[in-house]
């Protein structure tokens, strides 16, 4: 029983890192994604192509490779110290998820009929007013289901951090496996399930709250 308790505590500590990566990624990637969207929808061609190229590269390569490139790359290529382990993970995740989020946002924005923006303009609203008072709330309603998907994927993607030895929960469990104790690895599933369970309830609540908007 004490073994179970000790393993639970150790896994919880690892799960702390998991949650940190998860939260930091959301906090930075959600707004950064919006910037990427504006960039890739810009009428200024060079900016648009630059953003679309970045999105292509980031979505077109494995997150694991991006982690390795961001952590070891600066030191290997330019001899500079670069980022520490956890910051490197967060930077890689933020860039990666911002790009995926940006495409979801784009779908949301383009899903709002053009006529609404035109109507806004006719009424004398500025572009930013149209975005924040008309488009944004409809966009949010549209993107909740696909964003839920990405966010749930993010919970599990955090386990990739172990590639550069950030002691998230899977790595902690693997340490046990390597010392001969196998069950903690399967036990980690419970932590993920509970976390995703809470998120699922949260998403359902959000969708309910947004039901009043008819699109």
């Amino acid at each position: 029983m004490t073994a179970f308790w000790n393993v639970t505590l150790a896994l919880l500590e690892g799960f702390g890192s998991t949650c940190l990566i998860f939260a930091a990624t959301l906090v930075f990637a959600i707004p950064l994604g919006l910037l990427v969207t504006f960039g890739s929808m810009s009428r200024f061609r060079p900016l648009k192509w630059l953003m679309r190229t970045i999105v292509w590269v980031v979505r077109g390569t494995p997150l694991m490779l991006q982690l390795i490139a961001i952590f070891y790359g600066p030191a290997l290529l330019f001899g500079i110290d670069g980022l520490d382990r956890v910051p490197a993970v967060i930077v890689a995740f933020v860039i990666n998820y911002a790009c995926y989020f940006s495409e979801i946002y784009r779908a949301g924005i383009e899903g709002v009929p053009r006529g609404q923006a035109e109507a806004g303009q006719v009424l004398g609203l500025k572009k930013s007013q149209v975005f924040f008072h008309i488009t944004l709330i409809q966009l949010i309603k549209r993107i909740v289901p696909p964003m839920s998907n990405e966010i749930i994927t993010l919970v599990k993607d955090t386990s990739l951090a172990r590639i550069i030895s950030v002691t998230e929960i899977i790595l902690v469990a693997q340490e046990y496996t390597r010392q001969g104790l196998i069950w903690p690895l399967f036990y980690t599933g419970v932590f993920y399930l509970l976390f995703v369970g809470v998120l699922t309830l949260l998403f359902r609540y959000t969708e309910k709250k947004l039901e009043y908007i008819k699109i």
Partner: protein
């Protein structure tokens, strides 16, 4: 809109700040890359890192006036970790091979090792010599390890299951996913048999060529290499290494 950009900018600055904090390094610290495995580097009941290599590295660092900092690494990234200066030494029961010598500097050997075959207890009579292991349907080895080299050297044609860690090879055999595993003698000895979680596994020394463990470092750290080699010679003479063998390997 401006406010939004300002907030984002502040966030970006914050990330850079956190990043810069972690980047500073101490001159007197040697960062030692390791992976957890008994008996070289592992944790005792209280969670303290112990083991043959842990104690050996601590002794060497103390004598040279460095503070050792043990950094858990992914074994497959060991060269990247070293070259990018995230770690200064690879000290984790690393078998000296010609391939490794091309890329990094390696100390004089400090411990003898050999590859052995791990199998389920009931298969004990099936695999007794070098030739009979070749008849196994599948062999688990750590990717890039001396075990994998053993498979190549002996021309085995069995299905090869490449794992990221030697200890994962044990799990392979326990679950029957691989019929046998070829891993270090030191690990097989301390992790299989009675009193371990792998009590249903055993190992056989079928007589593969002997090999040796060395400490890995960057080629440009020639002074450090010289200092460590001198200490290895000294510890061989004064019985320090024998003491560690008795403590962790017998």
């Amino acid at each position: 809109m401006k406010k939004l950009f300002a907030t984002l900018l502040a966030g970006a600055v914050a990330v850079c700040g956190i990043a810069a904090l972690g980047a500073c390094k101490d001159e007197n610290t040697l960062v030692i890359g390791y992976t957890l495995y008994a008996p070289m580097n592992y944790k005792d009941e209280s969670g303290k890192l112990i083991g043959f290599d842990t104690e050996f590295a601590e002794k060497v660092c103390a004598e040279l006036g460095y503070t050792p900092k043990f950094q858990l690494i992914d074994w497959e990234q060991k060269i990247s970790e070293l070259e990018s200066k995230k770690i200064d030494l690879i000290w984790n029961g690393m078998t000296i091979t010609d391939e490794l010598k091309e890329n990094i500097a390696i100390s004089d050997p400090y411990l003898e090792n050999k590859q052995v075959v791990v199998m389920k207890l009931e298969d004990k009579d099936k695999y007794t010599d070098v030739a009979s292991v070749g008849a196994a349907a599948s062999i688990a080895v750590e990717s890039g390890s001396a075990g994998e080299a053993t498979v190549t050297d002996n021309g085995y044609t069995s299905k090869l299951n490449k794992m990221t860690a030697q200890s994962d090879c044990l799990l392979e055999v326990k679950t029957g996913s691989s019929e046998v595993a070829i891993i270090d003698y030191t690990m097989a000895k301390s992790m299989t048999g009675e009193g371990t979680d792998y009590a249903d596994l055993t190992y056989v020394d079928v007589g593969y060529a002997e090999e040796e463990y060395g400490v890995g470092m960057r080629k440009e750290d020639a002074d450090l290499l010289k200092q460590i080699n001198e200490l290895i010679a000294k510890y061989k003479q004064d019985g320090t290494l024998d003491g560690l063998v008795k403590k962790y390997l017998v």
